[in-house]
Symmetry: none
């Protein structure tokens, strides 16, 4: 077949040595040989997804790893999350990520996630399609308590305050313009009118009446944050000449891929959680490259979430699951390149993203092997790639595939 | 002597492991100790001549290695090839590289190189100095069937189509403006008139009459490509404070050096081909630095050409010739720095340039040795220099020479 590539990004994979793991990192400590087999025939390195010492968000890191400089293309989390729900954005839209929350009668936040209510769909429906002051509000259910909102109309701005105060127990305040521009004022004003308009629709929603009877937190407020003014991304297929698909469980990563025009392919058992079926995701990717697709981006989420929980035992177990699932790549089909890395490290000790470099491996088509034998944060420091910038990852993939554009003559 | 430097660029030197060479690269497999002796007292690294994963042309790569950012200074292949014939370009000139080709009576290309005719000089003479619509056409013979053409006049543009359709069997079409500007239209129109004007001069040229009698392909058309609008480069000597010479066989590299104001020094037996006298080139460089010159750029071409042929046996033999020739640097004269690298890799498997990093060695004056003992793509990955950008090569050479400008105070 013509050379094809699978890029696997294990969110927050990298870590720091942990005393309880014998001073190993979860990646170094996790049992399983699947990744080491790829390394044995491949070459490794470390990578700063943004730059040395920079602590990346998942959104900016993914843009960078897929070759879209976030300093140019990042316009906030809202548009990406909104795209992840399947919403088709248009240049000029202002998009938000949001939670259904519970506020009391005088507007204090009781619960930022409305008791982690499982289905936001009925609430998104009543908020969708409302028009106020020339702005159309488009609401779309995300997973569980999440709702994406898009404001569509002339002259909107993302320079407005969040609705969500990010902590419970404080009052909701009206949205404020953050710049003294007609656009910011118009956007804040229309959004405040919208929130007032939908309040009774939420309060009196049949699902809430039911929850009230059951003494469950009601989904009676839309807590918005991450406003972003969307502008169209150059399509991935045109940028790289690759027909691309995304296999991911979590919304953000589907959103990144959707904004780039990749096809989002569902994989059985992909949940975005620790119970996800990693092997099935890898299998789906292999099927896609055996068919029409030239490039598959696979995202695995739970290594990050477990790091943010500080749960190094569970993180190590989950990484072991990734390692075992990677046995499916042994042997690699002729003409296939597999690259595996992370978007950032999430050290369990920090319970947060860090700016440490991530390990990266390239195996298969076009790769000149090095003598690294294990895939880990420290072994990869000695790899043949040295330290490379995340923004160059796609260029290197094209180079290995043999389809890189010649610069000059 | 004051510290001086020789920079040797072996075109397309780097490669990938080849099964028939015992999974070694041609550089790793080639017999000879000359480079390893330099490495033993030197330090190594790998280098992306443009950036990680970017597949460089020879022209852009050489600009970068000599410290001229191609994103700023590259204006197409034409001006460089034209300068390589000894033509003095002026800002505003539009320059082309060209072949003498054979077309039939109705304008179909029969042979893009006129049977690889050996001498283009008599043809360049009849095309030189013609004036049409205020444009002076300057033609200069290159090696074998090659001719460089320069259009000189007011208001010219390089935004025009190639004359050369790049494949035989198709008809020559008139040159078209590629932008809707008066400059592009004027340039295309003048060039079409020129091509029509010189057609009978070529068809009836005494050399062609002779070739017709011998039933050889006639040089009856000038196939132009790579139009570039020349603007003057800052002189190398002023940029680096080094009196510089170039020792090269092939026109492009003489052109790069000439555009930077280096003196082009002929070396006996320098052909730009596999039969070139590499040792004589190195000897010439040593003589030049023993004399007035502070810096000599030596170019060796055939490692690239043989890689493009996919001929790994011949590439390995040629690299062995380079290694043996490099024995002349043992011992290195006091005060001399030798740097040796490539402009890009040309893997035999690809028969084309790749974006893999090139190995680089520094040996002699100012160098802190590392523990690399062999000069190869993989051994250099472990070198003291790690991975460096090609655009920094000249800065590092100045640093080692001890003449780098102090940035700050």
């Amino acid at each position: 077949m013509t050379p094809k590539a699978i890029l696997i990004i294990c969110d927050g994979l990298g870590d720091r040595p942990i005393a309880e793991l014998g001073n190993k990192t979860p990646l170094e400590a996790a049992p399983g040989n699947g990744l080491d087999k790829l390394v044995a025939k491949g070459a490794c390195g470390v990578m700063n997804t943004i730059a040395v010492g920079i602590r990346p968000g998942s959104d900016t890191a993914h843009l960078s790893l897929l070759g879209y400089d976030p300093h140019i293309y990042y316009s906030g989390r809202g548009p990406i999350e909104a795209a992840g729900t399947g919403l088709q954005l248009r240049t000029g839209d202002v998009a938000f990520r949001g939670n259904l929350g519970t506020v009391d009668d005088i507007g204090n936040i009781l619960d930022r996630r409305a008791g982690r209510i499982r289905n936001s769909e009925p609430f998104a429906q009543v908020m969708n399609g409302i028009e106020i002051d020339g702005v159309t509000f488009i609401a779309r259910a995300g997973t569980a308590y999440r709702v994406a909102l898009v404001m569509r109309g002339e002259g909107l701005s993302a320079d407005i305050s969040d609705v969500d105060p990010h902590v419970p127990g404080v009052p909701i305040t009206p949205v404020r313009p953050l710049k003294d521009t007609p656009e910011a004022k118009h956007t804040a004003s229309a959004l405040n009118k919208f929130l007032a308009y939908v309040r009774p629709l939420l309060v009196n929603h049949p699902v809430n009446l039911e929850r009230r009877a059951q003494n469950k937190p009601e989904a009676n407020y839309l807590l918005l944050r991450g406003a972003g003014l969307y502008s169209e991304l150059p399509p991935f297929s045109e940028r790289y000449g690759l027909k691309a698909a995304c296999v991911a469980g979590a919304g953000l990563y589907k959103g990144v891929a959707a904004l780039m025009g990749m096809d989002i392919v569902e994989s059985p058992g992909a949940t975005g959680l620790a119970d996800t079926d990693v092997r099935a995701k890898f299998e789906t990717a292999l099927k896609l490259v055996a068919g029409d697709y030239d490039f598959v981006f696979v995202h695995v989420k739970a290594s990050d979430s477990l790091g943010e929980d500080g749960n190094f035992t569970a993180k190590t177990e989950f990484i072991s699951k990734i390692k075992n699932a990677a046995e499916i790549f042994d042997p690699l089909p002729e003409g296939l390149l597999v690259a595996l890395t992370a978007d950032h490290c999430t050290p369990c000790a920090n319970k947060a993203h860090s700016g440490d470099p991530v390990p990266v491996l390239f195996s298969g088509h076009g790769v000149t092997p090095d003598d690294v034998t294990e895939f880990g944060e420290r072994s990869c420091r000695k790899g043949g790639y040295g330290r490379i910038p995340g923004l160059s990852l796609m260029d290197e993939i094209l180079n290995l595939l043999g389809t890189a554009h010649l610069y000059g003559a």
